[in-house]
Symmetry: C2
Subunit: 499 residues, 2 copies
């Protein structure tokens, strides 16, 4: 009975993926209570369930960032305008579409009584709300670094950043978003390159082991390289509609910023050298990737390793006289699972029916639901339902903790396997432009030879909307000829439409 | 030999408290590498050691906030100007001295090539960088809350905020600072009042059990009440110079914001009611309190329960041939202490002398230093030095973990005891205005009867620079007469100069 009711409710609220994928995404965000639009243009409110997912991501990523020798610090939210003038490419990439602080005071208008900007409180130099912190951090690093003994300098920051995006979508593209940005300084080019790759590896571990998202690791083409970097590495994941999503990037900045901000050190031979730098970031955007990797027409699906709640317990008490016993058993199960390190929530709300609870937690993507009623207790069992494949089983109470842990692990593996299969099945090789066009149109990742020129890249983008997602590290290094120009190509690159 | 060198270095770098307390504070912040001024006016850079302390505070406070039933969420950094117009008192308190975003784009000046604000990208409504988030959060709450079943709504946010302070000091008063702000909604006045007190209690636990800072809990006088609140509770702590520092506040907002932002709910009798609200916050300012509660002329002193590093291990290897053995023993000790849950750091830097290391970690306030050299190993002992009282003891290796844990606990208790004694010894009762004046001048907290009027409060402030820090909860409820006006007074209040 409950199951039927639940599905009706769900059907009413979520658009099917097959009908309108884009609306389905918004429906998942809304019905799972992850985020909503705020009254401030382009800024979202991250609701408790969405923020709890971000906290889990932060927890695991922060641990890995520290295990690889980095310390956290905090730099100002504002950047003086002149800092952007120092790095010519960087200014092109970021400074322009940013929030600009011009005044530091409001005053009440004598006539209307309303607030207005105080013309006497104009800043002598405008401040930009950070879109990324290279400039303000490197201005500081120039003072911190004197000698090769100060290197490597390995620092990370958790912060909010603002980019004035005109078309926004929750998590995927918002005017304000949350992220971490790592900023490191090295004595050698090799040191910087090693760091750039190491942190991409950390991100890949986070994505695969926790978010169950496979990705193609590779290098960006020059046109997609971070403004001010020598080169950019990326993880590109495939969403359920076949489009690519860039989950994070890791930049080898070379000596570009070191020269703009005069970051020099005395080397072991007492010679002054410009330092080598990296920066790397992962943002709340990855929650968009998480949603679009695993969720279904019933709502969000969370991989157990990242789910803030792994198991929800729902007591079923059709008769008043059973309440006490059921709640006592359920509370014991809660304690037992928590003691085993399972993130467990007991939903004891009395005014909501079990069926409504099933629907709510299903939409919120909780991996395992346990139902306990008097009939179950009589049999010494509980009903355990798995979110992704909707399997339901009676499990003996004494085997519950072990079974739950097994189911969580199985589900984690199953989600990654499914996503991996999708990536493999929907990646094709194009030997001519027609095949590339068709592949892109059908939501595929298309591997094809490219001559390495921006001209070819632009032509393909203009005609197919596909961009070069990356030059994959693991791609076969078979030489060939560009599918457009016929010129020689060192290896195939990945073309796809992207978020 | 090393000890002597260390003290010389320290004397050179830190001003003594007795010479210039204010400069000493800045010297501690600098030499402990906690923070520094940034190129952005009034904003500081929180350096890794300072940020690690903040992370420890966040970790403990976040746990307590969640244990008391709150969830974290995230709201926009920007607030539309019109939101401040909605709460008349609030606008007085906050909106005026804030950073105002007026434009969303920069452009390159054709003549100079430099960036300038694009006049075509003026916002139709200015955005204020949040000085506190009541307005933007409550605008959202009005949509979230429909029924009494949605209450209480218990939410917290970790965020950066900006207040355009003209005179700044690291941690104590900065244009940008980090904090948490709790925002809750209740069905009844009693519910809101209980919450306001409960969260003050959480802060008091954090301060006493972790930061070893005693405080006087009480209510603010109307003139110091949060703009828009019915009343404000506070924790007031005494710094080493006898001045008060407000470590946090907890506000009972009554129905003031609910009426401005139309937060209504249907009660159990199907009647529409305005909700009752609270907000409460603790910021990086508390690190200023931490510094001024315990530190000495040698530098920072950190209570073990909040120290990011509790024990630093320093290998002493005067001869090359001892290095391997010493490092092997030290590494074993590191593993052993970490396994026991002691936050331990092994300082194995080869290019820095043990003496210089002693000085550095002393300035950074690490509670326990362990020195291990070949002579110690021969005796099967190590040297354990405690930061606050400078005691040094040889400890047998097999007793090390237990001894260290004992020393950490003793030091934690000792710091709180010393701070408590200071608070008791420097709190006096004034029975007339002359005694109050003298007390305040001599750096005391002065308990005195007050008639409850703003006029008397202002007179005392103008003449002595002392403000009413709070009307203490635990104050004796003895009636008396105001030391200025002679009018009846219900209880004594705390006067002091404050940060």
């Amino acid at each position: 009975m409950f199951a039927k009711k639940k599905k009706e409710v769900v059907k009413k609220t979520l658009t099917k993926r097959s009908e309108n994928y884009s609306q389905w995404y918004l429906d998942v965000v809304e019905t799972a209570e992850l985020a909503e639009n705020s009254p401030v243009r382009g800024c979202m409110v991250i609701k408790p369930h969405g923020y709890a997912i971000w906290e889990r991501i932060q927890h695991e990523l922060d641990r890995m960032i520290k295990e690889t020798g980095h310390s956290n610090a905090y730099f100002p939210v504002f950047i003086p305008k002149s800092f952007f003038d120092k790095e010519a490419e960087h200014v092109e990439g970021f400074a322009k579409e940013s929030a600009v602080v011009t005044h530091y005071r409001l005053q009440q208008d004598a006539t209307t009584g309303k607030l207005r900007t105080d013309p006497d409180a104009k800043l002598t130099e405008e401040l930009i709300v950070r879109p990324t912190s290279e400039t303000v951090i490197y201005d500081t690093y120039a003072r911190w670094i004197q000698s090769y003994r100060d290197l490597p300098l390995l620092i990370n920051q958790w912060a909010n950043v603002v980019r004035w995006e005109m078309r926004t979508r929750p998590f995927l593209r918002t005017a304000e978003f949350l992220w971490q940005e790592g900023h490191t300084v090295h004595a050698t080019q090799e040191g910087a390159e090693e760091e750039t790759k190491k942190m991409l590896g950390v991100y890949q571990t986070l994505l695969e082991d926790y978010l169950a998202i496979p990705s193609i690791a590779g290098k960006k083409s020059p046109s997609e390289t971070f403004a001010g970097a020598d080169h950019t590495y990326t993880l590109e994941s495939m969403m359920q509609d076949g489009k690519a999503l860039q989950s994070c990037t890791s930049h080898n900045l070379g000596q570009n910023f070191a020269k703009s901000f005069n970051i020099q050190f005395t080397d072991e031979n007492e010679k002054q050298q410009y330092a080598w730098q990296t920066s790397w970031g992962l943002s709340t955007r990855v929650i968009g990737a998480l949603i679009m990797s695993h969720s279904d027409d019933l709502g969000l699906v969370l991989p157990p390793n990242i789910a803030p709640i792994q198991v929800v317990l729902i007591p079923i008490t059709p008769n008043k006289e059973d309440e006490e016993e059921v709640l006592s058993v359920v509370t014991k199960i809660e304690e037992q699972l928590k003691a085993q390190g399972v993130r467990t929530h007991l939903d004891s709300r009395a005014h909501i029916s079990p069926g409504a609870k099933f629907g709510e937690w299903e939409k919120k993507g909780i991996p395992v639901r346990i139902e306990i009623g008097p009939k179950d207790i009589a049999k010494n069992t509980v009903v355990v339902a798995r979110r992704d494949n909707q399997n339901k089983h009676d499990i003996l109470l004494e085997q519950l903790a072990d079974s739950v842990k097994e189911i969580l692990q199985e589900m984690q593996v199953a989600l990654l396997t499914t996503a991996r299969e999708r990536l493999t099945q929907h990646t094709i090789v194009a030997t001519n432009y027609q095949e590339l066009k068709e592949g892109v149109e059908n939501g595929k990742f298309v591997l094809a030879h490219w001559d390495g020129t921006a001209k070819t890249e632009e032509k393909i983008k203009a005609e197919t909307k596909a961009t070069i997602r990356c030059i994959p590290f693991d791609g076969e290094k078979d030489k060939g000829s560009c599918i457009i120009s016929g010129k020689p190509s060192k290896q195939q690159v990945v073309f796809a439409k992207a978020y």
